[in-house]
């Protein structure tokens, strides 16, 4: 089933069952059974928290292999602006462009125009919209999936505008097929991504259509060869005095969109809030559902701290990266000549940037149980919740006592998996985690 495609993979023999991933999963999709981790696909929203948390590196993002690119005659790198914040300050966006070209891309495309088009489309949409508020930004695919999975009644509140990267997929294909005189299929629109969620959104878009982008590479995956290429180019330029190619980035919004507050600040006349990190987002969504939040018109949400600079496929410290992006934005601001708005006006067509299909809820499990059977389960859950200590040790393999009670009620776990309900479980765990009985006295003396 298409919506169960994910961009996260477990390397089984690296997993030592250390539970770190289970504890950080925002949708409680992870269980550890028999000392090995498993992810429940319908619950996973591809946030990548588990990738970062795993001390063994046993959870990885599935990105496209570099060699895949050779399928395309003309390869265009479409850049998340987060990339510009990943290098030492002496490396400019121009250096990065040049490096990507040396690596084998035929063209490098920033999202200046697309970011501005996206912003105008959102403004127009807000203007004409009279449904329930607040509207929720569609930039972060994790948030979109969270709504689909856990807040199905709110899918209509997600702004149905294609994010800049998707608009760019379409625009680059048009532009370069004309320029190069080849078909759109021969052009590879390759997104350089800060997170696995955007990769998943390309492989299996939330609205169940085909993405405009063909491939995605993680920033982390291209970082070393790119840095090497940049360094080599810089050296060569020092020797022969060649001129660095210029970038044509002219949008400060392009740089600020993936950072918390970027979009909301641009929508200044609206009442907005900007929220990052899933526990906070969940809290706000709960309040929206209850009707507690009424006066807010626009809600900007990012799964990662600080926005996409916190993505799990980035390299540099997220806070430093953010500061570097602010610098890049200032430089762009200095170079503006005032003609940019006219250029954007020429390209903007109202109504051109909607998602190809409306977003649908993504129910976690198709329920074949009757309400009576479901309520029986609720009662079993409450019974076990009363018995369990509520310390959330995780050794049963479920993230919290409450979820363990739920797993027991659903028949996914056995009460004897809790070592406090069943002391025999301790021995099982000792074997599983290879704890032997040797004390210091038994150690051979040197």
């Amino acid at each position: 089933m298409i919506h169960e495609l994910h961009s996260i993979r477990i390397i089984e023999d690296r997993c030592k069952g250390r539970l770190a991933c289970m504890r950080v999963c925002p949708t409680d999709a992870i269980r550890v059974r028999g000392g090995r981790v498993s992810i429940k696909p319908p619950l996973c929203i591809d946030c990548g928290n588990c990738i970062v948390a795993c001390p063994e590196g046993a959870i990885v993002a599935i990105t496209d292999p570099w060699e895949e690119m050779t399928r395309y005659k003309f390869k265009v790198a479409i850049l998340s602006p987060v990339l510009f914040g990943q290098f030492p300050r002496s490396i400019t966006p121009c250096d990065i462009y040049e490096g990507l070209l040396s690596m084998g891309f035929d063209a490098v495309h920033d999202l200046s125009l697309e970011s501005e088009l996206y912003f105008r489309a959102i403004q127009d949409y807000l203007e004409d919209y009279d449904g329930p508020l607040p509207l929720i930004s569609s930039m972060c695919p994790v948030v979109v999936r969270l709504v689909q999975v856990a807040y199905p009644d709110m899918v209509g509140q997600v702004t149905p505008i294609q994010p800049p990267r998707e608009i760019a997929g379409r625009e680059t294909k048009k532009k370069y097929s004309k320029e190069q005189g080849i078909s759109e299929d021969e052009i590879g629109a390759i997104y350089i991504s800060p997170c696995p969620a955007k990769i998943a959104s390309i492989k299996a878009p939330a609205e169940k259509v085909k993405s405009n982008l063909d491939m995605a590479l993680g920033i982390r995956d291209i970082y070393n060869p790119l840095l090497a290429a940049i360094t080599k180019n810089k050296k060569a330029r020092d020797e022969d005095g060649a001129i660095l190619p210029r970038t044509d980035i002219y949008s400060q919004l392009y740089i600020s969109l993936p950072i918390t507050g970027g979009l909301s600040k641009a929508l200044q006349q609206k009442r907005y809030i900007s929220v990052a990190q899933l526990p906070n987002i969940t809290q706000v969504f709960e309040d929206i559902e209850k009707g507690k939040i009424r006066s807010i018109e626009f809600l900007e949400c990012f799964s990662c701290t600080g926005g996409c600079t916190g993505g799990s496929l980035t390299v540099d410290d997220r806070f430093v990266a953010r500061s570097k992006l602010q610098k890049v934005s200032e430089l762009i601001g200095e170079a503006l000549n005032g003609d940019e708005d006219k250029f954007i006006d020429q390209h903007y067509t109202k109504g051109e940037y909607y998602l190809y299909q409306t977003l649908e809820p993504r129910p976690v499990e198709r329920n074949r149980l009757s309400i009576i059977e479901q309520i029986e389960r609720v009662k079993i859950r409450e019974e076990y919740q009363g018995k369990l200590p509520g310390i959330d040790c995780g050794l049963c393999g479920s993230p919290t006592c409450a979820i363990f009670a739920n797993d027991v009620a659903n028949g996914d776990s056995d009460p004897s998996d809790c070592m406090l309900l069943s002391p025999a479980r301790v021995d099982e765990l000792r074997i599983m985690y290879k704890i032997d009985d040797k004390t210091e006295d038994d150690q051979p003396t040197a």
Binding site: P152, E289, K290, G291, N367, I371, I372, I375, V378
Partner: protein
């Protein structure tokens, strides 16, 4: 508790406890989610129970919410001890509120509470005795396709 009750639970609410305000409706919502009810129904119940809970917190001394799930409906009975409502008809008018200035400053008292609850409900019954308290009984059906 009726014969065909599948589930019943009573929650208590303390007047002027804004810190805990909203917790009851959160718990009710969690039960309905676990019971696998339709998300539109859940949202209607969550919003009605939240408004009702807030009414108790804002206006009354204390109260309780009785939550009952039957094979066809959710029945919420909100019972409070407090000043009661003098004019029920007026209380149902959109925009009418007796919330104090302090409450209004906190963003409450828009006069939409009861009208919104009525909108979310299939059956709505309000009774009050001035100086004693108010009882609100609402039914939201969940078995309609």
């Amino acid at each position: 508790m009726g014969e065909d009750t599948l589930y019943q639970k009573t929650f208590t609410i303390t007047g002027s406890d804004f810190d805990k305000a909203g917790e009851v409706s959160t718990q009710i919502k969690a039960i309905l989610k676990a019971a696998g009810l339709d998300s539109t129904v859940i949202r209607r119940v969550a919003s009605a129970s939240f408004e009702a809970e807030m009414n108790v917190v804002i206006h009354a001394d204390r109260g309780k919410i009785d939550f009952e799930l039957t094979p066809t409906a959710i029945v919420l009975t909100i019972d409070d001890e407090g000043p009661g409502i003098e004019d029920l008809e007026l209380a149902m008018k959109e925009g009418y509120s007796t919330a104090s200035d302090d409450m209004r400053e906190m963003g409450f008292g828009a006069g939409m509470g009861l009208p919104n609850i009525k909108k979310s409900s299939d059956d709505f019954h309000l009774e009050s005795e001035v100086g004693k308290g108010t009882t609100l009984r609402i039914t939201i059906k969940h078995d309609e396709q």
